[in-house]
């Protein structure tokens, strides 16, 4: 349960409060994470937070971190050459199927754990039918990885972007991310959907997908609860019968729907 040390190789500013850290192991590396899994990131003397894996790079690990509390601020504030602790990887992965249509639906920082899925779809494009990537953010300035959208489109992905509030520069779609779900050219029965964002957004998105005919178990959402240990021992991340760190974070909508329908569960 002790963290392994990782050194920040590169730090990229994504938005006003979000950075991407590329980290290399100082000692032995953690087991290679699967898309959708998370690690516990430790800032010396400050604390530990669960952060989803947003990529990997030549033996290193990539995390996109939004500074929202004391610990995530300290992690996001790490500079090139700084050392952070990492435990993991923990939890379930997205379980990308070998083929069929894919729908990736991300709200805000929710795109971070989905980027490995998108990159996998790009790398193995021929295996899949339609791959739709629906990205929503509060404002254009809050969009994550905007420089990669062109690459994804060039690879044949149907990338649709929307913002809640436009600014003068914005010529795209305005509205919550579920509004660009519209007429997706997917075969619902052969579709696997990956949804990550604020809980309210996931509820609406999953319902919309299920209404379109996608089987609930094929709609996968990434849940978030308070996590302390990552291995199902501390009890903090309970959501009904689930220990989210162990049974999640990626859970089929068939299991998540009744749990998210209960207030303060």
């Amino acid at each position: 349960m002790t963290p392994l040390r990782y050194r920040v190789r590169r730090r990229l500013t994504e938005t006003a409060d979000t950075v991407t850290l590329v980290l290399d192991p100082v000692d032995e590396p953690i087991v290679a994470p699967l898309p959708g899994q998370f690690t516990m990131m430790y800032a010396f003397g400050v604390g530990e937070v669960p952060i989803s894996v947003s990529g990997h790079a030549d033996g290193g690990i990539v995390h996109t971190v939004r500074a929202v509390g004391a610990v995530s601020r300290a992690v996001a504030g790490a500079r090139t050459g700084d050392v952070l602790g990492i435990r993991g990887p923990f939890g379930t992965d997205w379980g990308v199927p070998p083929g069929g249509d894919l729908v990736v639906l991300a709200g805000g920082i929710g795109l971070a754990p989905l980027r490995p899925v998108i990159r996998q779809a790009v790398a193995r494009r021929a295996r899949f039918g339609t791959v739709a990537v629906l990205i929503g953010a509060r404002t254009p300035a809050d969009l994550l990885y905007p420089h990669e959208y062109a690459t994804w489109r060039a690879a044949g992905l149907d990338v649709r972007v929307t913002v809640d509030r436009a600014d003068m520069s914005w010529t795209g779609h305005v509205g919550v991310v579920t509004t660009v779900l519209g007429a997706l050219p997917v075969d619902p029965a052969a579709t696997t959907a990956f949804v990550c964002g604020p809980e309210v957004m996931m509820r609406f998105a999953a319902r919309a997908l299920v209404d379109r005919g996608v089987p609930p178990a094929a709609v996968r959402v990434s849940l978030e609860r308070n996590m302390r240990c990552g291995v199902g021992l501390c009890g903090h991340c309970q959501l009904g019968p689930l220990l989210v760190c162990r049974d999640g974070p990626v859970v089929g909508w068939d299991r998540a729907a009744p749990l998210l329908a209960v207030k303060e569960l």
């Binding site: 040390r5 010396f44 978030e224 609860r225 308070n226 291995v231 021992l233 903090h236 309970q238 207030k263």
Partner: protein, 365 residues
């Protein structure tokens, strides 16, 4: 075959002789607490307990029974799963920091006087915490258990309805039943493991007469009938899974102080949090593991605020987990019927009463 032991002194000495730290009940601060015993005399001979919802009082017994009392404020988890334990330390270096794991706690405990409820509670925590190769698993491997069957349950006890008592076992190394006759106490001993047998051979014992064996069995059987409380029968897991919107949660929330006492005294509650601390200079950091409670507002904190803001939702989480989702997570109930949460609740909330109210509400719906 049963064996008779005329005094616990040799047992405690033999355990010390094998290098165990012997922990058992003793009187302190007006309660029967669990503490390290240097000799058998420290046991609460002649003390009894009167427990009721929100009430716990010691009284002098007319006899010299050492185990004439039911569960006290602590459970054995205080030793196997300590309230606060060091995890690791980190020290700043020129180009980062180093991490050093806390030295393993190799304490060898012998628990003297583990009741049926608490023996089951240890088994329940084994399922939760025993898999990881941490301090719990180490202490558990080294543990020697002397169990005691109950002959005098408290008013708050309901272990007969949870199937955990009053007879203790299985799971002990040695199992005792206390036979009290005024100032004379004797112990009927059952062997549970080879380690138990080996220890027993070092003690001055004699074969137990058949009438004493029967007397002991009758006393334990009678204890079951003395319990006035019981968890409702039927599938409580189903009941709780379907009771998220029950009106009873509002009723109990109007009484519950959300103090977390029930989680502290519960022998199966296992939740923890971590504390990261540094020295003043910021050069040395430590991580400590400490007990946490689902009644704490911070327990469910996510950025933006806690998930469970109302007392209603926190009491519901506790009871639903204890009797319902514990089955989903660990394949059994998390309640052993010790009754501690009833006695130590400052407003006397009774888990059996709340559960029965939920049953009634579900039946009327």
């Amino acid at each position: 075959m049963s064996t008779l032991l005329r005094s616990l002194g040799p047992l405690v000495r033999a355990l010390h002789g094998q290098g165990y730290r012997v922990v058992g009940p003793t009187v302190r601060d007006g309660a029967i607490v669990l503490a390290e015993l240097d000799r058998a005399d420290a046991l609460p001979y002649g003390w009894g307990v009167e427990a009721a919802p929100g009430r716990y009082r010691l009284h002098r017994r007319a006899d010299a029974a050492a185990f004439g009392h039911a569960a006290g404020p602590q459970s054995w988890k205080a030793f196997l799963h300590p309230p606060r334990s060091p995890q690791w330390t980190a020290d700043r270096t020129a180009d980062g920091f180093t991490v050093t794991e806390a030295p393993p706690d190799s304490t060898r405990y012998a628990f003297l006087g583990v009741r049926g409820c608490d023996l089951r509670a240890i088994a329940v925590q084994d399922r939760v915490l025993g898999g990881a190769d941490g301090g719990y698993a180490r202490r558990r491997r080294e543990l020697f258990i002397v169990a005691v069957s109950c002959t005098e349950p408290a008013d708050t006890c309901f272990c007969a309805s949870t199937g955990c008592g009053p007879a203790a076992g299985p799971g002990y190394d040695l199992g005792l039943t206390e036979l009290v006759d005024g100032d004379r106490v004797r112990y009927l001993v059952e062997v549970g493991t080879p380690a138990g047998l080996e220890l027993l051979t070092q003690l001055p014992t004699e074969p137990a007469p058949v009438d004493l064996v029967e007397e002991a069995a009758a006393a334990v059987a009678a204890a079951a009938t003395k319990m006035s409380r019981a968890l409702p029968e039927g599938d409580l897991r189903d009941l709780l899974a379907g009771s998220h919107d029950a009106a009873r949660w509002d009723d109990v929330a109007a009484r519950c102080l959300s103090c977390g006492n029930c989680t502290m005294v519960c022998p199966t509650c296992f939740c923890t949090t971590v504390e990261d601390v540094t020295d003043v200079a910021g050069e040395h950091a430590e991580r400590w593991l400490r007990w946490d409670s689902c009644f704490d507002l911070d327990f469910s904190y996510l950025h933006g605020g806690p998930v469970r803001t109302s007392t209603r939702s926190r009491y519901r989480q506790w009871l639903t987990h204890k009797l319902g989702t514990w089955h989903d997570q660990f394949g059994e109930s998390g309640c052993v019927g010790c009754g501690r949460c009833i006695a130590w609740c400052p407003v006397g909330i009774d888990i059996t009463e709340e559960t029965r109210a939920l049953v009634t509400e579900a039946e009327e719906a």
